[in-house]
């Protein structure tokens, strides 16, 4: 069984909501759309107070090339454009829409029939994806059209679909594959067409045997798409790790990107969103969100309109448990702990994880015993203990020399540290500071 070649850990999977059919969540009373839901420049609002919008109306346009448009997921009136505490814990500008009815834009094809044929040219496909505001649905939210436009001198050789879902607890992608396999495969072939390649891979970890079986059966009609079962290993869902696992190529250190080894990696959720955008004219305004946790009464997968507050999802899954200690947007390895549960669902919200107070508290830090376990699990071949120490000492020059920018912040080092050291806290600080120094240096040049 294939997997990536350096490091890796295997956290307890805890896929509590696996096999739960996707439920459609009721509309919220008010939907909130933060203008910065993706990597890159924030979107600029197109609507103002009092404007009427429909489901699928563009309410904010991309603020640059690396940016994405935002579409309303509800119909109603714009209440205000104001700030809301988003997943980062800070107040960011957002559009508030009061929901009235459920009226869709007419251009959207709401039928469920599978549309296989796509006669568009590659650039038309990319334009359509861009117009639908599609971003990476795995959590990083990198605008998809940017990834589909290789920089000059680079040629894509294959499309790799990330259906790994290596984060414990989360099952959104798994369930999506079980229910929308045909649509995903069409989406993948559209993506392949967009970057003009003839080979597509879908990497699935073998803790989802039902999805592997179903996808393999369906993919028989698509000779160019191969389903690749992978050994369960975190962080296989990392772009670079997945490329290594599937086609045995390693992306060199930054600033190199996957396209430098000829790979375009997209999340399976993105493939579905691409299908809907291109074949059904449906912009990205809803997604599957897993609500889970050991104390949650009814862990579920919800089809959720964006802008719905997380509290509504938690309510639908049986309410916030008494012993809640931490609410995490995303999975337990890379998700963000939230300040409050009114944070709206955004394009990258793959899950809401509720941890009880016992699980949530970190253990006290002990001195480093130099056991080197962090070194052996680091999937990027770095020395986390060293990076953390140097960052704490603010020796940014050496932090940079030790390749801190290669860190993918997967958290394997801190997960495995027997001394419970806050390795990634410090490494992130170092990466952030060094990133700033490098940008300043490049700006000077």
């Amino acid at each position: 069984m294939k997997t990536f070649r350096i490091g890796g850990v295997h956290p307890a999977e805890n896929k509590l909501s696996a096999g739960k059919a996707i439920e459609t969540l009721a509309l919220p009373k008010q939907a909130v759309f933060p203008l910065s839901q993706h990597i890159g420049a924030p979107a600029t609002a197109l609507v103002k107070k009092g404007d009427a919008v429909k489901v699928g109306t563009k309410i904010a346009e991309a603020g640059g090339f690396v940016s994405a448009a935002i579409f309303s997921s509800v119909s109603g009136k714009v209440n205000k454009v104001d700030a809301i505490v988003d997943a980062s814990g800070y107040r960011k500008p957002a559009i508030f829409i009061d929901v009235e009815g459920d009226e869709w834009e007419e251009s959207i094809d709401r039928s469920t029939t599978l549309v296989k044929e796509c006669n568009l040219k590659p650039e038309e496909i990319v334009a359509k994806i861009k117009d639908a505001g599609v971003v990476g649905m795995g959590g990083a939210c990198f605008p998809t059209h940017v990834k589909l436009s290789p920089p000059p001198g680079c040629k894509a050789e294959c499309v790799i679909i990330n259906a790994v879902e290596c984060e414990p607890y989360l099952t959104a992608d798994h369930q999506l594959m079980l229910e929308k396999a045909d649509e995903i495969l069409v989406g993948v072939s559209i993506l392949m067409k967009a970057v003009n390649v003839t080979k597509g891979y879908i990497g699935i970890e073998n803790n989802k045997p039902d999805a592997i079986k179903l996808m393999t059966e369906k993919a028989a009609q698509y000779p160019n798409i191969e389903i690749v079962p992978l050994k369960v290993q975190y962080p296989q869902g990392g772009e670079k790790q997945l490329i290594d696992a599937v086609i045995r190529r390693q992306v060199p250190a930054p600033p190199a990107i996957p396209i430098n080894v000829g790979a375009v990696v997209q999340n399976v959720g993105t493939a579905y969103a691409v299908y809907e955008a291109v074949q059904k004219n449906k912009p990205l305004f809803e997604r599957i969100v897993t609500v889970t946790g050991k104390s949650v009464k009814n862990p579920s997968n919800f089809l959720t309109r964006m802008g719905t507050p997380m509290s509504q999802l938690i309510e639908a899954a049986g309410g916030l448990p008494e012993d809640t200690g931490k609410v995490i947007g995303g999975g337990p390895m890379m998700g963000k702990a939230l300040l409050n549960i009114e944070v709206p669902i955004c394009k990258g919200s793959s899950g809401v994880l509720i941890m009880n107070d016992k699980e949530a508290a970190r253990a006290a830090e002990n001195p480093c015993i130099r056991c080197a376990k962090c070194v052996s699990v680091c999937p990027m071949g770095l020395e986390p203990f060293l990076l953390a120490t140097l960052s704490a000492k603010k020796d940014w020059e050496r932090v940079e020399k030790e390749d801190v920018m290669s860190c993918i912040e997967c958290g394997s080092c801190q997960f495995t540290c027997p001394s419970h050291r806050y390795l990634l806290d410090y490494i992130r600080l170092g990466k952030g500071t060094v990133g700033g120094i490098i940008r300043a240096r490049n700006a000077k040049k």
């Binding site: 700030a83 505490v85 814990g89 800070y90 107040r91 300040l339 410090y426 600080l429 952030g432």
Partner: protein, 304 residues
């Protein structure tokens, strides 16, 4: 006898050869350094705080000598040593010291545990820089002090300490040299280097919250809500309101104290002023009937 002779000769020879090598090396690799640099460096505090803007005390000494050669010491100040140190440097270099205003670091946040209710619990490394990236902090105020003490760690003069009761750092006025290390360490730019003021008395807005009034009001008892009352009352146009936050320009402020009672939230502090005379207290209560207890409670702290 022979043995002693051999020892003396051989050791003597080794010593002689080494001396020749050392002499040759010291000639060959000699670097000329202006002797005044060492003299200047001697009177500097040698804390290498970097507050002067040069890499360490040696760097500053070099800059002083260079500046003296080009005619003026203007713009050079060792914040650690202060005016007396600059006078000594000037006398070494045969120049006249340029007087500069003494300054001090001011922590512009009064969101103590009592004033600013905690809504979450931060669990992570004891570092403001990291806490700042984690989320908005433990309170609803995303601008205020995080309380992990990065400024305390950055201070080389032992002049800033956390007060465990308030959870806020406090500047020791006698020790602070206004080197600015704490300013750089604070990820939220709460600390500001301000002129010490006449008789050490100064007016400061003790808040950096830029949220709208209602949100700032809810987050903290003593936040600036951007109401603008202080701007109106100031006779010297020293107070400006930007992004829902008032700022007192120390260059224009004449310390008339008119703004202090005007602030409905008690966010404006008059530091090191004598307590107001009893008759002055009536208008305080009148001006801000609801918030009256807050400034009263703050007053003794501000004096301390």
């Amino acid at each position: 006898m022979d043995l002693i002779l051999i020892a003396v000769i051989s050791l003597g020879a080794i010593g002689l050869i080494s001396a020749v090598i050392l002499y040759a090396a010291s000639k060959k690799f000699a670097v000329y350094e202006d002797p005044r640099i060492a003299q200047v460096a001697e009177v500097l505090p040698q804390a290498n705080c970097g507050g002067c803007g040069f890499p360490g005390c040696a760097g500053f000494a070099g800059a002083c000598v260079k500046a003296a050669d080009s005619g003026s010491l203007e713009g050079l100040l060792c914040p650690g040593g202060g005016a007396s140190c600059m006078e000594k440097i000037a006398s070494i270099l045969g120049m006249e010291a340029v007087a500069s205003e003494p300054k001090i670091a001011v922590v512009r946040c009064n969101g103590s545990c009592e004033n600013r209710p905690r809504i979450a619990k931060y669990d992570g490394a004891q570092s403001c820089a990291i806490a700042h990236t984690t989320s908005g902090g433990e309170t609803a105020c995303t601008f205020g002090c995080l309380g992990c003490g990065d400024c305390v760690a950055a201070c080389k003069f032992d002049a800033i300490h956390m007060n465990p009761e308030t959870g806020l750092p406090e500047v020791d006025e006698d020790k602070c040299t206004a080197c600015g290390a704490c300013v750089k360490a604070c990820p939220r730019f709460i600390i500001e280097i301000r002129p010490k003021g006449k008789n050490n008395r100064r007016m400061v807005v003790m808040c950096v919250n830029k949220d709208k009034g209602a949100i700032a009001n809810k987050a903290c008892k003593v936040s600036c809500i951007g109401c603008g009352k202080c701007v109106k009352v100031c006779p010297f146009e020293a107070i400006t309101l930007e992004n829902n936050l008032a700022y007192i320009d120390p260059a224009k402020c004449k310390s008339c104290r008119k703004c202090e009672p005007e602030c409905p939230k008690g966010a404006i502090h008059a530091i090191n002023f004598p307590p107001r005379k009893p008759k002055a207290e009536a208008p305080v209560a009148d001006a801000a009937p609801k918030a009256a207890p807050a400034p009263k409670a703050e007053a003794p702290k501000a004096e301390a």
